[in-house]
């Protein structure tokens, strides 16, 4: 009966043999007291060395599945198997409203998704082929030699200290005053925003933000039952007039803004407007949560300091940083920078959620920066993405000449085109293997059907024209 043990090269042979017996015993197919084949017998049946069988049996002894009786053989231990049929329930009736809504608002579960062969204009992930794998491996080997097991054991909820110190200096080099501030490391932007919203708002609170805005942020605010008040975007960022109006007619608790490479529009707010925005909101003592999304991916013009830098010695701005949009999103590393008393509370919330963010990932990321690999990498990708950006802009002007194009860099542009229905357009384009993100996803009341976002980070150069020409021709067809 044991001839049918399937062995492959995926893991050590002795473990495969062990697992086979473990499962047989656990399922009751080999029962208490039953004798296993002798090591000699099994070794010849499976054509593996006797030592391999001995190792497998020893491991089964260690796991408490068999006993070996000297001179007699190996016997199944006192392992019990249930004959209880169990019971079943319809879990969909036991899930609470929160989980039902999390699923309803989960676009991955409801939107068309990229399939092999499609031109991926829906994606704004970095192009992984640009990842400096050798540098990454070196960073890993260097930090693991230096920190060894320290980064593999429990760490601190706040984060890996050298990385926090590094990020504090990084914030300073953006012109941000770090006095009285602190940092909490999170699993990317999403966790940072979710923890902030969970800790600072209550159901029914009013939040001011750009409309359109980041769909993940919208989801989180909706899940918390907040009233999201959106001020429309102008060519240079959020409309200050509307900001003022919204604040005057609602009791706004927090403002959430993305001043650089705004998602989805790609707009970067100029310095003067940042100053005015800050002043407007500050006049009402409303704290700002600033999303530092893609700030590293500037490739035109002078450095523009984040709104957090305008906050000076004050503590009215909370800044969420993340490298995930640029580098190794799979690691999920982000941070919250803000008043140190606030961070102290958020740290406890973080601990109650998942103890801390992977210390290994934080340490490798830290080392990656310290070695200067990030500098090298960002230099390279800025060049590549800038070229792609220029290509996308040229192609949009050529194939969708009537469109209004937004976007000052980063990994995406945003298109508005009077009279189109981007949902219908998407449907048509998918038939021709072109996928992008319809604008309504980013709008507070699902308006904005005349707009869509084009990610270009993962579009191959030769596909850029093809993709946009398809979109252009479908728009033409729909006009008729």
């Amino acid at each position: 009966m044991f001839h049918n043990i399937e062995l492959d090269k995926s893991q050590p042979i002795y473990i495969q043999i062990k697992n086979y017996f473990r499962t047989m015993i656990a399922k009751g197919m080999l029962q208490k007291g039953e004798r296993l084949p002798s090591t000699r017998e099994l070794s010849s049946a499976l054509n593996v060395s006797r030592n391999t069988i001995i190792s497998a049996y020893e491991s089964l002894v260690d796991d408490g599945f068999i006993n070996i009786i000297e001179g007699k053989g190996a016997f199944v231990s006192d392992v019990n198997v249930s004959t209880n049929p169990g019971w079943s329930t319809d879990w969909t009736t036991r899930i609470n409203k929160y989980a039902i809504e999390a699923r309803e608002l989960d676009i991955v579960k409801h939107e068309a998704s990229w399939e092999k062969g499609m031109i991926p204009m829906s994606s704004i992930s970095p192009d992984p082929e640009l990842f400096p794998m050798e540098d990454f491996k070196r960073a890993f080997m260097n930090i693991i030699s230096f920190e060894s097991y320290k980064i593999l054991n429990y760490g601190y909820a706040q984060g890996y200290k050298p990385f926090i110190d590094f990020l504090m200096e990084y914030m300073e080099s953006k012109g941000v005053n770090t006095k009285g501030k602190n940092i909490l490391i999170t699993n990317g932007f999403t966790e940072a925003f979710e923890i902030l919203i969970s800790s600072l708002t209550n159901e029914g609170d009013y939040i001011l933000c750009e409309n359109p805005t980041h769909n993940t942020a919208l989801k989180i605010m909706r899940l918390k039952k907040l009233n999201v008040c959106g001020a429309p975007m102008e060519d240079d960022g959020i409309s200050l007039e509307d900001v003022e109006k919204i604040i005057q007619s609602n009791k706004i608790k927090l403002a959430y803004i993305t001043p650089s490479y705004h998602n989805p529009t790609g707009i970067t707010m100029p310095w003067e407007k940042r100053m005015k925005l800050f002043q407007t909101i500050m006049n009402y003592s409303i704290p700002i949560i600033e999303n530092g999304f893609n700030e590293e991916l500037r490739y035109f013009g002078s450095h523009i300091a984040p709104v957090a830098a305008i906050g000076g010695e004050g503590n009215g701005v909370i800044y969420i940083g993340s490298f995930s949009k640029v580098l190794f999103p799979g690691l999920r590393i982000g941070w919250i920078f803000g008043d140190r008393y606030l961070i102290d509370y958020l740290e406890s919330v973080k601990r109650s959620r998942n103890i801390h963010t992977s210390f290994m990932d934080q340490a490798v990321m830290y080392q990656f920066f310290k070695e200067g690999y990030f500098e090298k990498y960002i230099k390279k990708v800025r060049r590549v993405y800038k070229q792609k950006y220029e290509k996308v802009v040229a192609a949009v002007r050529k194939y969708i000449p009537d469109a209004k194009l937004y976007g000052d860099g980063g990994l995406h542009v945003f298109i508005k085109h009077e009279g189109i229905d981007s949902r219908q357009l998407l449907e048509e384009c998918i038939k021709h293997n072109v996928i992008f993100t319809p604008g309504d996803i980013f709008h507070i009341n699902n308006e904005g059907r005349d707009s869509f976002r084009l990610g270009f980070s993962r579009v191959r150069d030769e596909d850029m024209e093809i993709g946009i020409s398809v979109i252009g021709s479908k728009i033409e067809e729909m006009k008729k």
Copy 2:
């Protein structure tokens, strides 16, 4: 003025010079249009090569902080600096109840903590010196060569597919029926439990669990405002009589149990009792969340299948697994195993929280298992911890002879001693550099002052007797 740039070996010199100027400019100490020293001048002032200065300046150009005018030099770009003083708020008044309670219930912020030189009987982390660092590095290098950038880019909320498949087989080898089930990878046990409680309960719901129980689980239930109904522990696990009584007099929504190496008591529930417990709870159609805490750390007796195995084809049991207590807690890897429709909802909740758990960490963990390193490791640590366990038991019998000792393995034992106040005892012991965890932390109404938990995983052999003799002598003194 630039002679005071401090250079060290922590990172490439050109980056340090760049960061110096970046910060100077960002802070307004070097202003718009100001000329930077010539590369020649600075290279001689700092005694570094001119190429280094050129690299630093190029990088400043890339970041938009300076412009280089051919033949004229390097000048600060149009970088704006705020003179707005900002504004400040008292964040402690803006934090909501949830965050305040998260901080109040955060024992790290309120309990005595280990300090250098203390015998760490409060810890139940694995001993990091046992971590197989070379195997870990090999696992990393192997998976990164094979999967390359795939595991560094965005992954899927559910988890890394090969790891999920591996864990499904692992559950089977525990005797669990995997038909109709699925797995969600989480950031350790804490996130798994938090997501489950967030998705399945509403404020005021009644939950049945052991009393005492895992303090992190208690914290999470308290934060969600649940009514926690505790059934006392007997020598072989939760009292079935009390379970029945509690269910009859409360509308219990979920049961949460830890049948193996229960935290804090260390008790492992025998098979027959597991069967009875399952049947008792099943009679009322109450789902069970089973914590598979430390199941891998058995070192006595036959394998005892988890309660999830009793569930058979049914879907009434949700199993939370984690290797964190045994291996690499710093990586934060756990999983929820349960009905696939349930997992589908939980996946959306996970996505809304932090997109997914680090794909690199999942992949390295997977590879670590596939290579057979876990087998090697667990064999070694079982031997070590078993010896420590035997030492701790012998020392308790010798120095605290009147104590009642609980614990069948794992990384800790639990002590009850009539008439003692473990808080007062702890205070005395800390003076002698011995720290442990007082029992009230694990009790639902902070009772159990006559008990405490002794972790032994990180106690050196020579300290075991010392630590426990101190506790014994303090108990003797307190009796007087």
